[in-house]
């Protein structure tokens, strides 16, 4: 479960302070599939960055699975991200020098799994998303347009609590208004 209370995030540039999130109260229960919509600049991405622990809020609290994340050290946040979250970045964000299999296996290895076990798990995950034939392809060897099947999605759906798309919704670049 993800819960935010009175979440605020402001950006400061010199003397100018720009508040983006102004006291957001939000809750997502286990198994829920949610879409956050809003006009360009409304703060959708900023909210997701706070919830995904990639950024630190200016104020308020975020509780994930009962853990108060604002009390966590940077190392604890890192471990939390590693073990609990899956990310789908806007531009797929694959490491160019790693193959699809290695890209997927890397976070599993960081979870102290052996290379053999991580590779086997990553291979199964990639096969499930239809990339079993491209295990040893580098990102540059993926055909244009097929990257929507990002290898990062594979493990995030197999063993993680939350999958957080950090990309903007397709409408955000075409519509100035919230839907």
């Amino acid at each position: 479960m993800i819960e935010t209370k009175n979440l605020t995030r402001s950006f400061q540039n010199g003397d100018v302070v720009t508040p983006v999130l102004k006291g957001i109260d939000f809750m997502a229960n286990d198994g829920e599939f949610l879409a956050i919509m809003g006009r360009s600049g409304a703060g959708k991405s900023t909210l997701l960055y706070q919830i995904s622990l990639l950024d630190e809020p200016t104020g308020g609290a975020i509780k994930i699975d009962g853990h108060d994340t604002h009390r966590m050290s940077e190392d604890e946040r890192m471990r939390f991200r590693l073990n609990k979250f899956g990310y789908v970045f806007q531009d797929y964000a694959l490491l160019p020098e790693l193959t699809a299999l290695e890209n997927v296996a890397l976070p599993l290895m960081m979870q102290d799994k052996s290379r053999k076990s991580a590779y086997a798990q990553a291979e199964r995950a990639l096969e499930r998303v239809g990339l079993g034939h491209r295990l040893h392809n580098l990102p540059s060897q993926f055909p244009a347009g097929s990257s929507s099947a990002s290898p990062y999605r594979a493990p995030s759906r197999t063993n993680r609590r939350c999958s957080l798309p950090t990309s903007r919704p397709p409408t955000s670049t075409t519509s100035p208004r919230a839907r």
Partner: protein, 415 residues
Amino acid sequence: MPLNVRIGFFLATRALRRASLWTTGLIIGVMVLTFLNLVVVSGILVGLLEGAVVAVRTQYTSDVIISSLNDKKYIENSPNLLLLISTLPEVRAYTARYRQAGVVEANYKTRKDTDKPNTANAMMVGINPAKEDSVTGIGGSIVEGSFLTPDDYDKVVIGGYLLKQYFPVETPGFTTLENVGVGTKIRMNVGGVTREVTVKGILKSKVDEVSMRAYMVDSQFRSLIGRNDGNVAEIALKVAPGADPAAVRDTLLARGAGINAKVQTYEDAQPKFLKDMIATFGMLGTAFSSIGLVVASITIFIVVFINAITRRKFIGILKGIGIHGRAIEASYVFQSVFYALVGSLLGLILVYAFLVPFFYAHPIDFPFSDGILVAPLGTTLLRVGLLVVTTVIAGFIPAMMIIRKNTLDSILGRN
């Protein structure tokens, strides 16, 4: 192996394996040049003097030199000393030299009474040609004519520094002989005795003590200086392979050789100016090496900084998905170590398989020595270690600077 190190190694091997060959080649090329700068520049500087030291040892002092005391013209009881030397198993060969300062004159036949005599001060030396050649090999330094034989009568081999054509130096108080070549008759004046001799050969060496002497067969020289007691002025000893010159010196001193003579190893006998120059050049070499090390570290710093800053987004993503900053830092450290080790290995091969043998076979013709490349393995390996440590630090700092930046800012490319 700690997890962060394992992940760092994994990332580093992939980054190196799939990096551009040109980039890798360029970085390794810089490391090779840096290594050469560290080893060769100081090696040539030290080798310049080492060439002089080697020349003095091989052509003049040999491994151990025994000479007359400062207040004596010769070594008293030389025959007994020579007998002792001949019984030492560590001594492979030795040569005894009679020595007395004198003057050589060239134009005595042609000059008018008003002309200035063309003379040169020289050290006259009487030698056994075969023994001398077996110890110092100076017969191989003859550039004109030939070396002495035991049967030569009234013939001399003259050092190049006594002849104007080989040593055209105009120093006040220092004169050389003009128009003297092989076959020319010159006059020797030693201790008031004058004798006309023929130049049989000209000897060229960069060792002053060799090139500023005139050599004659010892039996004749003895009669010239009136010495019948067999007391010589110098004895040069060549020790057997593996024998320690210092041990031979100590043995001789223990047997009382020090009572009538100075017993020195080639190192003891080095002139003070040479020792000072060796120390000075050593310091210069260290200074140049240090500058080279600083340049290398700055180069690696820039290379890793540019690499890390262009990969800042991926570093942010790695941190974002939970890869520890220490693991990412370790990957850059491993890459730096790889560049330093491969560069040093190629440098070592270049130095020991090519440059050292090349300079040994073709010494650099410096005015006062035949310079070689001195690269003792211990010192070189120490420099490899220094290079690796410097490179690791120079690779770690920029990686750390980029990794410490805010994760989200790195992913989004924000400053």
